[in-house]
């Protein structure tokens, strides 16, 4: 954003005395943009997720408000807005009131470092990844507050569960990101993207077997950190009624959901930036892309597509899998994900060192890994085909009904 501000200063010939005002203005506009983007994303995803879930369960899903129910999210939002904001008696009312905003802010703050294109980014911090890991701790605080302040045993259990879960899962998230930081040599998200190529085999996910596994470790632990199924224990509706947000209603309740759906994009965006090449366009050098506004826009679209694909996978996982138990969740974190990610760090170090002396090996490993994942995707397609053939229901490829 600083570059953009200085460009604006230059363009209009404004004297540097006013630079503070311009910088503040630019940041303000960017903040509004990020907030709008996140809110729109959260709203539309809430509709989209229900449609997808409907199709998976051979139902239709919401389709009454507007074309195919597209405005359902707006209707739901308005409904929540107009609902009475119930604050139960005997709650710790200050904490109860501010808890949703902690959660919301915690998730929204990650948009500071999540890039949209080579220059459109809130702040290209040199400690971007650390910042993300640190700022999301605010979510834990918010959820714990909500759980405690509601003065209900179910919410308290939900709050405790989520605190235990999110704090534990920050470790594998950080460790699996380190796997990429080793070959990248930087913590800044923009630099990490810059170091990857546009073509798939130049992405960091295929850099070496360590990063390949680290992608899945990151994805799993990010799901757990974001309280998504199969790790949605804090809000396990069949056990804890609704977990930490049982007592909430109206707009405050909506803020929790907002944060949850925004978090989907955050998970997808970080994975895209770190592992999947971010906004890089195949065959176009970084400098060319950074200079042209159009190419930046194309980069933005590419980034969005990749992130949305991951969001789809998250939704899809949610409607496929059951939920773990709290001790299994901890076992999975401490016995599986953490040791594995440590091994992956070692692997990554090993390969990074080897690549210095044997550059051709780098390309070979990348291509092998890429082909391997293509094979897995092909096998997956075969299994889907098999399932369709095995069950007598006919296929029906129209998405809208």
């Amino acid at each position: 954003m600083f570059e953009i501000s200085s460009k604006i200063l230059d363009y209009f010939g404004i004297s540097s005395d006013f630079s503070v005002i311009v910088v503040v203005l630019v940041f303000f506009v960017y903040g509004l943009f990020a907030l709008t983007f996140a809110s729109l994303f959260a709203g539309i995803t809430s509709w989209y997720e229900r449609r997808i879930a409907g199709r998976m369960q051979s139902r239709i899903g919401p389709n009454r408000v507007g074309y195919q129910g597209f405005w359902q999210w707006l209707a739901d939002g308005l409904k929540c807005w107009f609902k009475e904001d119930i604050i139960p008696k005997d709650t710790d009312s200050v904490l109860f009131r501010i808890a949703p905003y902690f959660v919301f802010t915690g998730v929204l703050s990650t948009f500071v470092v999540i890039p949209f294109s080579p220059t459109i980014v809130g702040s290209d911090m040199n400690v971007g990844l650390v910042y993300i890991i640190a700022i999301t701790a605010l979510v834990v605080a918010g959820i714990l507050m909500a759980g405690w302040a509601s003065n209900s045993k179910w919410t308290l259990l939900g709050g405790i569960r989520s605190a235990a879960q999110m704090i534990s899962y920050e470790i594998p998230v950080a460790l699996s990101l380190i796997v990429v930081i080793i070959p990248a040599g930087t913590l800044s998200l923009q630099k990490i993207i810059q170091m990857q190529g546009g073509a798939p085999y130049n992405w960091f996910i295929f850099h070496n077997p360590g990063t390949f596994a680290a992608f899945f470790i990151y994805f799993t632990s990010a799901l757990a950190e974001g309280n998504r199924t199969p790790f949605d224990l804090p809000e396990a509706e069949s056990e804890l009624v609704a977990g930490y947000n049982t007592e909430y209603s109206g707009m405050r309740f909506l803020f929790f959901l907002f944060a949850e759906w925004m978090n989907l994009y955050v998970i997808g965006a970080i994975a895209t930036a770190v592992f999947l090449g971010g906004w890089r366009i195949p065959g176009i050098a970084y400098e060319v892309q950074a200079a042209s506004l159009w190419l930046q826009f194309v980069g933005f679209i590419i980034f969005l597509i990749k992130a949305l694909l991951l969001v789809n996978v998250i939704i899809w996982l949610r409607w496929t899998l059951p939920r773990l138990r709290i001790d299994q969740l901890m076992i999975m974190c401490y016995k599986y994900l953490i040791p594995l990610s440590v091994i992956m760090i070692l692997l990554s170090v090993f390969f990074t060192v080897i690549y210095y002396s044997l550059p051709f090996l780098s390309l070979a490993v990348r291509i092998v890994l890429f082909i391997l994942s293509l094979i897995v995707a092909g096998y997956f397609g075969y299994r889907v085909y098999f399932n369709i053939k095995y069950f007598p229901d006919k296929t029906y490829l129209r998405w809208m009904i």
Binding site: A53, M56, Q57, S58, R59, K153, W154, L157, I160, R161, T229, P230, D232, L233, A236, E237, S238, E239, L240, V241, W319, T320, L321, P322, R323, L324, R325, I326, D327, Q328, N387, Y390, F391, P392, D393
Partner: protein, 380 residues
């Protein structure tokens, strides 16, 4: 002293009292548990029954024999055919009526369809309690086809009131037989296999259910568990085989028992898998019954006013939730003198109380679901 006060006396330090139900997403109707928990681990979950008590047994004393059949539907709304069947069998025994062969076959067809429908709900809601929503709706989808069939067969989708003293109320026709065959074609290899791939073999579900609330064979007998819950503990006891009634001796089928599919014999996962296997067997029974269906009457000659002679009778069928018994005393008038209903869910509640000790709260949900509790069956 109220229950809560009594519980407060035994409550130790560090324990919290949690009130689970009567309105709770996973208590399957209005069942209430008072959970004494130390953090996530329960000390015990004390079931409190009686929230759905409607005095059906008492109502029987004011209703004529035929008029009570619709009430039996309400005892177990997920498997109403069996309640019909057990009751009319009892009255027939009192009257000494021989039921026509065709009617018996129709009863078996209706009951087995109902067993599949009931197990689909049981499995689906167990998966849903564990957190997977999709298997539940896939189960509901198949059950809807069964509901369509029963709608054509007897006119209702849930409270069938299909059986009459001496037979059944409506005959089957070719359209219904075709529908049943269509359903079986998609159900037997197709749906069951897909269901297994989707949820039964899912590692998370397996890990959630294996070795949870293991009920050994001895314990199961002592608790008075019946049906799939008993068979999952490895006891091969099925009224259709051991105390044959209706035309079951003429049909070939297996009785699946728990073998410790992934863990110990009699754990929650065994109860899940035994139900899946029972659905397969039911589909097999249906195939045979539909192909062997004899011609003939569907209603025996029964006097218009049913007045059984003095006496008492116990008749039991193997319902989807195990042995469902009707104990009927007749004093020679038009109304029964007493009707006592023995249901499986009630005894399972005690097992839940004992087995919940030392489990996680999340396991209680699995335990309730795996016992396939239906609230009106407990309280009647």
């Amino acid at each position: 002293m109220t229950l809560e006060e009594r519980l407060n006396l035994v409550k130790r330090e560090n324990e919290i009292l949690l009130n689970m139900g009567p309105q709770h997403p996973s208590t399957h109707g209005v069942i209430r548990f008072i959970v004494r928990a130390d953090g996530e681990i329960m000390v015990e979950a004390l079931p409190v029954v009686g929230y759905l008590h409607r005095g059906i047994e008492k109502l029987a004393e004011q209703t004529p024999y035929t008029g009570f059949i619709p009430y039996t539907d309400r005892v177990d709304y997920l498997a109403a055919m069996f309640a019909n069947h057990a009751y009319v069998m009892g009255v027939e025994k009192l009257l000494g009526i021989e039921v026509p062969k065709r009617a018996e076959y129709l009863r078996v067809i209706a009951c087995e369809l109902n067993r599949i429908a009931s197990h689909l709900i049981a499995l689906g809601s167990m998966a849903m309690d564990i957190g997977a929503f999709t298997p539940f709706l896939h189960g509901i989808r198949e059950r809807e086809l069964i509901n369509d069939i029963t709608e054509m067969l007897c006119g209702a989708r849930l409270t069938y009131n299909y059986m009459r003293v001496g037979g059944v109320s409506k005959d089957i026709d070719d359209r219904i037989i075709k529908k049943i065959n269509d359903f079986l074609d998609r159900f037997l290899p197709g749906f069951i296999d897909e269901f297994n791939r989707l949820i039964t073999n899912n590692e998370i579900l397996v890990k959630r259910c294996v070795n949870i609330a293991t009920v050994s064979a001895d314990e199961a007998i002592n608790f008075g568990l019946v049906g799939p819950n008993l068979r999952a503990s490895g006891v091969k006891w099925d009224l259709r085989k051991n105390m044959p009634y209706s035309v079951y001796p003429e049909l070939k089928f297996e009785v699946p028992v728990g073998e410790g599919f992934r863990g110990e014999v009699g754990d929650s996962y065994d109860r899940f898998v035994v139900r899946v296997k029972e659905m397969e067997e039911s589909a097999r029974i249906l195939k045979q019954a539909v192909s062997q269906l004899p011609e003939g009457e569907i209603l025996a000659k029964v006097p218009k006013r049913i007045k059984p002679p003095k006496g008492e009778v116990y008749s039991a069928v193997e319902s989807a939730r195990g042995e469902l018994g009707y104990y009927i005393i007749s004093d020679g008038t038009e109304n029964p003198y007493r009707v006592k209903i023995r249901t499986g869910s009630f005894s399972a509640m005690k097992a839940i109380h004992i087995k919940s000790q030392g489990c996680f709260i999340a396991d209680l949900v699995v335990l309730i679901a795996s016992m396939d509790i239906v609230a009106p069956e407990i309280d009647r």
